[in-house]
Point group: C2
């Protein structure tokens, strides 16, 4: 009997048995009860605010904070001089908690205040007097490369944050002997992950040097290490607890480190908890969008369509600080080379500092940007060779057993099946009058082996509770992508139990096993594998304890515990038995998945992921030939993500990822005006709304991957990768001209059609 | 370098290295930053309030809640009919979350409301219409025993909640053959633990049937089980997280179950978090004080002072519901029989329902009440036999190796040394003119083997963190008594580390090992032993991992890790090594202390505790012979608590416990007016303030106990036990007359001296 007999004012049961219901966020979200970072309140909590540079580049000559301290309710005012201000960074240590001597973009953090309410904090910001000396600023990465360009970071001559020159095979010779060489230039703007919830956090420090930060992150364990090092705290003194995450899409892998560091410093200074949150405008102006890119690409083919070589010159725009932009630039500059068999590759890539918004990462990790360029060029080649773009792709596409040009070890691959199915479903050979059709193929790592130095695996704990239910402890992160639903399915299947008997415990770096977090499509493949191993271990421990308890062999079969005598044993009996004999402990299975070593050499040659996911998307579009107005009718998304363990979650990934791909292809992109973000609101920075979403058809080619749990591979990132390329090719098919700079808007299509401005 | 360079507005370092500093509460408390239950706030939180019966005994004929629902801001109004209202209880299942049909005392919970603020909740209470039919009420337990008395609980004829008739040896024969029989009657009022922080909680339920209750408890794991059962929730769905505890003294072993159950039900009904807190007045009128007692006692002695037998007739006043009052009555009725060698015992004890405040437990568990009676009677006997009360006690006192009359197995005991030292220090043979001197001896269980059915032990987890520091996970509870300081000392000593490298993690039933909690003096003895075992296991695991890492044998000596080659290894290296090989796990030692079985028979004969603590207190008092005004000059507290592992904590226990003993003896006690508490505020219910505390001298006889960690035994409860008896005897010594009903006030001394009213 339920404890409450009354008619209940709100839905409260999660008993229907669907896997999704075991995701702790789902019910909270659909009933509006989810608690996000911005909802948090702690007793005596202060509110922090940041004073930001109004100049894109300026020397900070003098800061006077006396006026701010005079504002009633102000508890702390910090500038670079008040803190040790240790440099930190994810790849390059080019940031400090507060700008010291020099501000490098409009929005650079110069001072931070904490006060009893947001109004007092805002008043305090106004009362801080700063004397700036403006410096010449650079907004264009190609200008930043010029000899006469001002140097944005003292230790970085030439403004190059990261670069690579890479050759595989003999590209010069291949180009020289080719039947056809096609080339083009493409540009892709900076794009913000635009999660619905702006980043917010509360830092709570205490008198024993403990620091707890409440904030939703994709990689809390990794952020914890960065924060401990930057603040010179013992690692075990720092704890991150995650409220519900309002989307992440890569933007919350490291979130906004500045916010966490400054709220922590203010909390350590005042001894009170300090909340900070970004406004939507700040998200656009000081949040961390993905790098913009300019790509000059050439491709060599044989007459029969065989791909011979590709050459790329890539400049990515880093903005003022680099975060993980070097890694994104690296992925952008190489991942697509493994979609097809291309034996010869030459790539020059440079990541360049400018006085603009610092950048980071986004779902797809630059892979969708390069995919747009390369897939556009493949269609150009098909046209020149009068070959069907589908057949050209099928002829060259990567297959299981391949070791690609960069050394990726393709253990499972159904890309050709994906291409064929996408073409079949979109009606490739049965086209509608007046429509354009495009296709694009993508690859993405699933379970990076190189994302966090040499830490590659994952671990999980599965516990038998005293009431016979089981709990899985995981450090992996759920942010709407369905990871926890997948874990419940994996554990339930391993244990032979109904998913309702399982609970996921998560989001507390103190309690949950260390994890790299939700990135590089590693949740299901690597995190899920650890869950599987933990569940297997728990099963073994339960059988052992039950055998000891009954004095006869016991096996766990089909969710039941049966002794050889036929006697059935309840799980709670075994739990209590163990509880008693250990004076209070629970039976806990630990699962450690240690993936094969990455064999990755200094030229970045070698396998970089446990496995790889593949996708082919086909688009059907219509273009108004008078106005250029584009209507995307349909996206057909066909995926090889191995065996699908959590179908509702996978469906969600398809709908969300394709929609974001549509945004990337046709809507989004930063617009700058002398370093200032000109479209810093959701009114000006357009993302697709529900009304803009086309019909999305999806299909899974369910081959079993040999590494992933129950044959599963990741899906979250690859789903966005082929969308812009497929749409671009469909637009070209419809109009006969090619838009080479994203986003593909009506205006650009019009100009390309009638003025030849973007013609490729 | 510290992260903040600025002069800091508040103290924030806990680096001085004293054990106390490792107690996570200490710095928070002394800087005013501690977060108590009443400070908690959760987004969208509602406030709950309770409508209480104004009648001591009444039939509830009709409840109309329509008006309450009409009050703006009201979200839920619950009465017994709205909930399943399952009966629950700690010993007897005599309570329900809300009174059903009948209210049994002034304050009985009849309805509960949740609203957006406390004002709206209060208005809603006023708007509930209840029709009562008053019933005859009983306020005196002896009247409750009469045949014609109204029956307070349907299933409890005679109003007896618990009773026992016990005989050991041959008491009748011993009394018949005695040289001297002394007798007297004593009465002890109900006393409230009067923790500084009134009980408060927040219940947070979610849509997956998870229920988290934030409240400070001495036994959260046990309360969790009671709540899960009462609310018919799976145990693993209920979690209790403890904020800082503002005192407990036994009153927070189970705290206020009504409050937790009603806030949970309101939260489950509304889907919002619900806060409830008791006012100080409610603490006195509906909180759970210790039982009052009336004791008629006789004692038989030989002429040489040898104790031959004791007979007791005890009536304890249960109030309306029983909670753990049966257990307290049981301890009250037997524990003191083991202070001395008394071969023959006859005891009749009855716990009786009345229409007054329900009772529970308090530090000392009734032992101090009975001690007052028995130790007073021993002095009466000494007077009659013209023997020195000290010598009479030394002649009869329990010694190591004894098995007492109730079967207690006394493995270590320095009671005679305590008595001698107390006498020496108070100046027993060197008395000040005009002063009275009294002495009293006490025993208390240290690590009960019977408190929670057959669960007796404790477990702990010790973890090597990635930074080389170590964390101890314990389910035991700190509430100012110094348990965590003791644990840090025990772990540090086991590992050979500085205490500053250790952190205690606690107060979360989900994360910390199951524990019976802070009761029966089990923290140091049982909890500490588990910590010791966990630290030993961790040490072994660290040595093994370090040996594997270096390829040569490694030993942990004096806080360092040294390989046989002489190479020193850092702890963080070993931690990282293990972290890597397990893909993210930490090295964790689990310690399970399983104490010897209790061998406890159906007559309650047998050993009931891991070990026993002893104490002798001596008091020096002065009585104004004209007014009766009592001045306690000095209490000398001499203790056998084995080896003292945490000296600052032990000192605190002495000061606090002696002061509470003084309150019990001379200040406190409920006053009722027809079932209504007449002194329900701290103005009327007097406890000693800092100005009332006499000089307290203390001394430890540090013998090593064979079971306790490093020879330690408990101290927390025994320290209050001898105080009232020592003061009573000193007053009798000063005045020549004896006050037999507590508290011993000037008025009572005066009346006894001049009117013979309380003469014994």
């Amino acid at each position: 009997m339920p404890a409450i007999k009354k008619a209940e004012p709100v839905i409260r049961k999660g008993r229907s048995g669907s896997a999704v219901n075991q995701d702790p966020d789902v019910w909270a979200k659909i009933t509006g009860k989810a608690v996000y970072g911005t909802d948090l309140y702690f007793p005596g909590m202060l509110y922090g605010k940041i004073l930001r540079s109004p100049h894109p580049h300026a020397r900070i000559k003098r800061i006077d904070t006396a006026g701010a301290y005079a504002v009633p309710g102000v508890r702390s005012v910090l500038t670079a001089g008040d803190i040790s201000n240790k440099s930190y960074g994810i790849v390059v240590e080019d940031e400090q908690p507060l700008a010291h001597n020099r501000a490098r973009y409009i929005g650079d953090e110069v001072a931070a205040v904490a006060a009893v309410d947001e109004e007092s904090a805002s008043k305090a910001l106004e009362a801080i007097k700063i004397e700036y000396e403006p410096l010449p600023a650079i907004f264009d990465p190609t200008e930043a490369l010029l000899d006469e360009a001002v140097q944005i970071h003292n230790n970085c001559p030439g403004n190059i944050a990261w670069e690579r020159d890479m050759e595989r095979g003999e590209p010069e010779r291949a180009f020289a002997g080719a039947d056809l060489v096609v080339e083009n230039e493409f540009s892709i703007p900076s794009v913000h992950p635009t999660y619905l919830e702006p980043i917010a956090c509360v830092a709570v420090s205490d008198y024993m040097e403990n620091l707890t930060i409440y904030t939703a992150l994709q990689s809390p364990d990794v952020v914890r290490e960065i924060i401990a090092e930057a603040l010179e705290l013992p690692l075990s003194k720092v704890r991150i607890i995650g409220p519900v995450m309002g989307g992440g899409f890569g933007g919350r892998v490291y979130g906004n480190l500045k916010l966490y560091l400054l709220s922590s410093l203010l909390s350590m200074h005042t001894g009170s908890s300090v909340k900070m949150r970004l406004t939507r405008e700040e998200e656009f102006t000081v949040g961390r969008p993905m790098i913009a890119a300019r790509m000059k690409v050439r491709m060599a083919l044989r007459r029969d369509g065989t791909f011979l070589a590709r050459e790329s010159d890539i400049i990515t725009d880093n903005g003022a600080y680099s975060a993980q932009a070097p890694w994104v630039s690296k992925t952008l500059s190489e991942r697509n080379d493994s979609v097809y068999r291309i034996p010869n590759i030459k790539t020059r890539a440079r990541l360049v500092y400018t006085n603009k918004v610092p950048t980071a990462q986004y779902r797809g990790y630059g892979n969708q940007a390069a995919n747009f360029a390369y897939e556009s060029l493949i269609d150009q080649a098909a046209q020149k060779l009068s070959l069907d773009p589908l057949h050209l792709r099928l002829k060259n596409c990567t297959r299981a057993g391949d070791v690609t040009v960069h050394g990726l070890d393709i253990k499972s691959c159904a890309l050709s099946e994906c291409l064929q199915k996408a073409a079949e479903k979109v009606g490739w050979n049965n086209r509608k009058e007046g429509c354009g059709y495009g296709i694009s193929a993508g690859i993405h790592a699933s379970g990076s082996l190189v994302a966090n130095k040499d830490f590659r695996g994952a671990s999980a704990r599965a516990v038998l509770e005293l009431d016979g239910r089981m709990t899985v402890y995981t450090g992996e992160q759920e942010y709407g992508q369905g990871a926890y639903g997948a874990f419940v399915q994996i554990a339930a299947r391993t244990l032979g139990l109904e998913p309702q008997l399982l609970t996921i415990y998560c989001r507390d770096t103190l309690v949950t096993p260390y994890s790299q977090g939700a990135l590089a499509n590693r949740q299901t493949t690597i995190g899920g594998r650890a869950v599987q191993l933990a569940a297997e271990e728990l099963k073994k421990l339960i059988e052992e304890a039950a055998s000891e308890m009954t004095g006869e062999p016991v096996k766990m079969i089909g969710g039941s515990l049966a002794a050889v005598s036929g006697k059935l044993i309840r799980f709670d009996e075994v739990a209590r038995y163990h509880h008693h004999r250990t004076s209070g402990l629970t039976l806990a299975g630990e699962g450690c998945y240690v993936p094969p070593p990455s064999k990755y050499d200094e030229t970045s040659y070698g396998n970089i992921s446990v496995t790889y996911s593949f996708a082919a998307h086909a688009a059907e579009v219509k273009v108004d030939r008078e106005t250029g107005a584009l209507t995307v009718h349909r996206i057909v998304a066909v995926h090889d993500s191995g065996h699908i363990v959590n179908p509702p979650g996978a469906r969600g990934q398809i709908y969300g990822g394709v929609t974001q791909g549509l945004g990337f292809g046709c809507y989004e992109g930063y617009v700058f005006d002398r370093g200032k973000v000109a479209n810093s609101s959701l009114a000006d920075y357009r993302i697709p709304t529900a009304l803009d979403v086309p019909r999305i058809d999806y299909h899974f080619i369910e081959i079993n991957d040999p590494e992933g749990p129950f044959g599963a591979k990741g899906l979250g990132e690859v789903v966005q990768v082929p969308v812009p390329g497929a749409i671009a090719n469909a637009v070209a098919d419809a109009t006969g001209v090619r838009v080479t700079n994203l986003p593909i808007t009506a205006e650009k299509i019009y100009r390309t059609m009638f003025k030849g401005e973007c013609d490729g």
